[in-house]
C-alpha cells in the first residue's frame, strides 16, 4: 500500500517534471520571440503604464480625484491642475490616473469569467459532438447574431447599472464567442491521435477534456483572451458612455467622457480630451499585445 503510494507519487512527480520542462522550454522560446516584436513591446509598455496607475494610483495622484472645488470649475490646464479641472472643479490629471483602476478591474474580470465559462462550454460542445453540439452551436449562432450592445443595454436596464452587473453582462455576451473558438480548436484536437488513445485507456470524459485537450489548446485560448480583453475594454467604455455602466463619482474614463462631452464645442476640450486619449491608448496597447501574442503562438 505504502509502496504503491510512493510509486504513484514518483510517477506524478516525474510526470510534472517532464511536463514542466517542456513548458519551460516552450515558454522561453515564446518570450524570446515576443521580445523581438516591437509591436508587442510597445503594447506591453502602454498596458504596464496603466496597470501601474491602477495599482499605485493613490500614491501617484497629486490631488484627490473626488474632491470638488466650486470656485475653480472648468479651469484650463495650469501648473496647479496639469490637465485642468472639470465642471465641479475636480482635478482631471488625478482622475485620469484613478480612472485606470475601474476599467482595469471590470474588463479583466469580465474576460476571465467569460473565458472560464466559454472554455467549459466550448470543450463540452466540441468534445461531445452530436445533438449537444448541434443544439448549443445553433443557439450560440443565434445569440451572436443579436446586436450585442442592445442585449447588454436591456440586461443592464433591467438589473440596474453597477460595476458587478457590467462585469456579468460582458461575460455573458463574450461567453459564446470564446466557446465558438474553443469548440473549433477542440474539434481539430479530437482528430489527433492522443484523444482516441486516451479514450482507449478508458479515461473519463472530464479527464480527457480538461487534462488532455485543454493544455493543448491553451495557445489559441490565450490569444482569444487577449483579443477579448481589448473588446471588453471597448464595451465597458461604451456602456459607461451610454450611461449604463460604471456609476458616478467613479473617475472611469468612459463616464468622464459621457459627463463632459457636451462641453467640447464650448471650448472646454480638456474635460474630455485626456480621457479619450487614455481610453484610446489602453485599447491600442492591449491590442498590440494581443497581436504580438497571436503572431508568436499561431
Amino acid at each position: 500500500m505504502v509502496l504503491q503510494r510512493a510509486l504513484k507519487g514518483t510517477k506524478v512527480f516525474w510526470f510534472f517534471f517532464s511536463k514542466k520542462n517542456c513548458l519551460l522550454a516552450f515558454l522561453m522560446s515564446v518570450v524570446r520571440r515576443l521580445l523581438a516584436s516591437p509591436g508587442f513591446l510597445a503594447g506591453s509598455a502602454i498596458v504596464l503604464f496603466w496597470v501601474v496607475c491602477a495599482v499605485f494610483g493613490p500614491w501617484l495622484e497629486p490631488q484627490s480625484p473626488y474632491a470638488d472645488d466650486l470656485i475653480n470649475t472648468l479651469s484650463p490646464p495650469t501648473a496647479a491642475h496639469w490637465f485642468g479641472t472639470d465642471q465641479i472643479g475636480r482635478d482631471i490629471f488625478s482622475r485620469i490616473i484613478a480612472g485606470a483602476r475601474p476599467i482595469l478591474s471590470v474588463a479583466p474580470a469580465a474576460t476571465l469569467l467569460a473565458t472560464v465559462c466559454g472554455t467549459a462550454l466550448g470543450l463540452l460542445t466540441g468534445y461531445a459532438g452530436g445533438w449537444v453540439d448541434r443544439v448549443l452551436s445553433r443557439l450560440i449562432e443565434v445569440i451572436l447574431a443579436l446586436p450585442l450592445i442592445v442585449v447588454a443595454l436591456l440586461v443592464l436596464v433591467a438589473l440596474g447599472p453597477s460595476s458587478l452587473n457590467v462585469t456579468v453582462v460582458i461575460a455573458l455576451v463574450f461567453t459564446p464567442i470564446i466557446a465558438r473558438t474553443v469548440r473549433s480548436a477542440v474539434i481539430a484536437e479530437c482528430k489527433l491521435d492522443y484523444v482516441p488513445a486516451a479514450q482507449l485507456r478508458d479515461e473519463g470524459a472530464l479527464h480527457i477534456m480538461f487534462r488532455e485537450i485543454l493544455p493543448n489548446i491553451t495557445p489559441p485560448i490565450l490569444v482569444e483572451v487577449t483579443v477579448r480583453l481589448g473588446y471588453a475594454i471597448f464595451t465597458v467604455a461604451s456602456l459607461s458612455f451610454l450611461g449604463f455602466g460604471i456609476q458616478p463619482p467613479s473617475p472611469d474614463w468612459g463616464l468622464t467622457i459621457a459627463e463632459n462631452y457636451g462641453l467640447i464645442v464650448g471650448g472646454y476640450g480638456w474635460t474630455v480630451g485626456f480621457a479619450a486619449v487614455a481610453t484610446a491608448s489602453l485599447v491600442v496597447g492591449v491590442n498590440l499585445l494581443a497581436e504580438g501574442l497571436q503572431e508568436v503562438l499561431r
Binding site: 466650486l70 465642471q87 440596474g160 447599472p161 456609476q247 459627463e259 457636451g262 464645442v265 464650448g266
Partner: protein
Amino acid sequence: MTSQARHLVGELRAGRLGRRAFLQHAARIGLLTAAPVPAAARGRPGATIRVASNVPAGAIEPLTVSEIGGLAMLCQTGEFLVVAGSDLVLRPSLAVSWQPNADSSVWTFRLRPSVRFHGGQAFDAACVVATMDRLSDPKQGSNALSVLRGVLSPGGTKRIDDLTVRFELDAPNGNFPFYVSSDNYNAIILPADYAGDFETNFNGTGPFRLERYTAKVGANFVRNEAYWGLPALPARTEFSFFGDQQPQVLALEDDQVDVIVQIAVQGAQGLLRDPDVRIIDIPAATHRQMHLRCDDGPLADKRVRQAIALSLDRPGLVHGLFQGRAELGNDSPFAPIYPSTDRSVPQRARDIPRARALMQAAGYPNGFETTLTTERSQEIPLLAVLVQNACAQIGVRVALTIEDIAAYYGTAQPGRSDWLDSPMGITDYGHRGVPNVTLAAPYLSGGAWNAAHFRNATYDRLVASFNAATELPAQRALAGDIERLLLDETPVIIPYFYDYLCATGPTVTGVAVSGISQIFLQDAALS
C-alpha cells in the same frame, strides 16, 4: 374697491409691499386687468423667426402634453384665459377680468367678445366649460388632473351667459386664476366640439396659425391676420426640433436659428460667454428637491436631516453649477420670486461643526451608510456627487445610483418606484407661478409625490389655510410658518431655484418666455 383691494393698496402705501409684488398680487385677485404692451416698443413687422426647440416626445395633444417640447407647441396657436408672465403678473387673454367671492371658493370670469378660432368657431363660455370639464374629468385622463385635484371637478365650471363663466371650487383657493392660466400648460381653450385632432390643425385662437407640423422634425406657423389683439409682428415662425442641447447651441452660433427656447447652464457654458448671444434670464421657481426619508433608518431622526442640510455649501452650488444664475434655496418650496414668500426667515448656511454636533447628539458620531438615488438629467448627477462629498464631511457615507429618468420614477407608486422608495433622492420640480401645487402632493401626509414620507398634521393644516387665504399678508404669515416648520423638520433639502434661460441671436427683440418653457413670439422682430 373690495376690502381686499383696499388692503392691498394700503400695504403698498405703507411700504410693506414692493411695486412688483403689488402688481403680482393685484392682478391675481382681478384688481388689475389691463397690461398692454406699449406699441412704441414693438419692432419691425414681417420677420421670419427661426426657433430651436426640444423635440416633442409625443403627440401634440393638449390633454396629455407634459414635456417642454410639446408645451412650447401648444402656446403657439392656443391661448389661455389668463397669461402668467415671467414676472408672475397675471395678464388677461381670453378672459378680460375675474373676481372671487368672499371666501374665494367661487370665481367669476368675464370672457373676451368676438374671438374666433382658426377653424372658424366662435369662442364663448361653452368652449371654456368644455375645456375645463375635459381637463378635470378623471375619465378623460388629462395631465392637468394632478394640478386640479381637490381644486376643480367636472361640473364645477358653469356657463352664466355667452361671455361669463363661474368656477365653483372644491375648496377655497386664493390663487385660483393661476390654475386656468398659462401656468397650467394643458389649459389652452379649445372649441366646444373638440374631437381630439389638435395635432392635425392646432386649432386655437392665438396670433399664429399652423402651416405645417411634422412630428420629430419641426413646425411652421404663419401670422393669424384675423387675430383679436394686436397682430403678431413676425410673418412666420419656423420651429426646428432637436433631441439635445448641443446641436441647438451649434445651430444658434452658426446662425441657423434665431432663438433657443430653453438652455441649461450645463453644456452651454461657452454660449453664456459669447458676446454675440443674448441671454434672456428670468428668475423662476424651478428647483431640485432632495428628499430624506422621515420614516426609516437614521434619517428618521430630524437632527440627522438637519445635519445633512447644514453640510451643503449653497452659494458654492449656485456659483459652480449655475454660474450664479440661480437663487439660494431654504429647504422649502417658497422660492424667492413668490410674493407670498416670507423672506425674513433666516437662510440656512453651511455649518459643519453644528452638523457634527447634531450627528453626535443623534447617536451617529461615526456617521452611517446610505444611498442617494436620482435621475440622469442636466446638472442633477453633478449635484449628487457634490452632496456625496458634503455628506462625507459629517461622516455620512453616501453611495450613488444615477438612473435613467424612467427607471427613477418607475410606476410612481410606493413599492415600485425608486423615487418614492429611496432613503435619499433628488427630484426635479418645474416652475409654477404659485407654490400651491408644490406645497401639496410632495409634503402633505399621504401625498402622491411625498418621497420623504413626511407626515405632519400641523403642516397639513397650514397648507389648507394657505390655499384659502386671499390676502397677501395672511398668505405671507402662513408662508413664514410653513417655511420655519419645513426648516425645522427638514423632510427635503432644496438647495437652489435656478433661472430660466432663453438664448437669442444679437438682432432678435421682443421674445417673451415663461418659466415653464413657453415661448411667445407675437412681439418678436429682427433689427
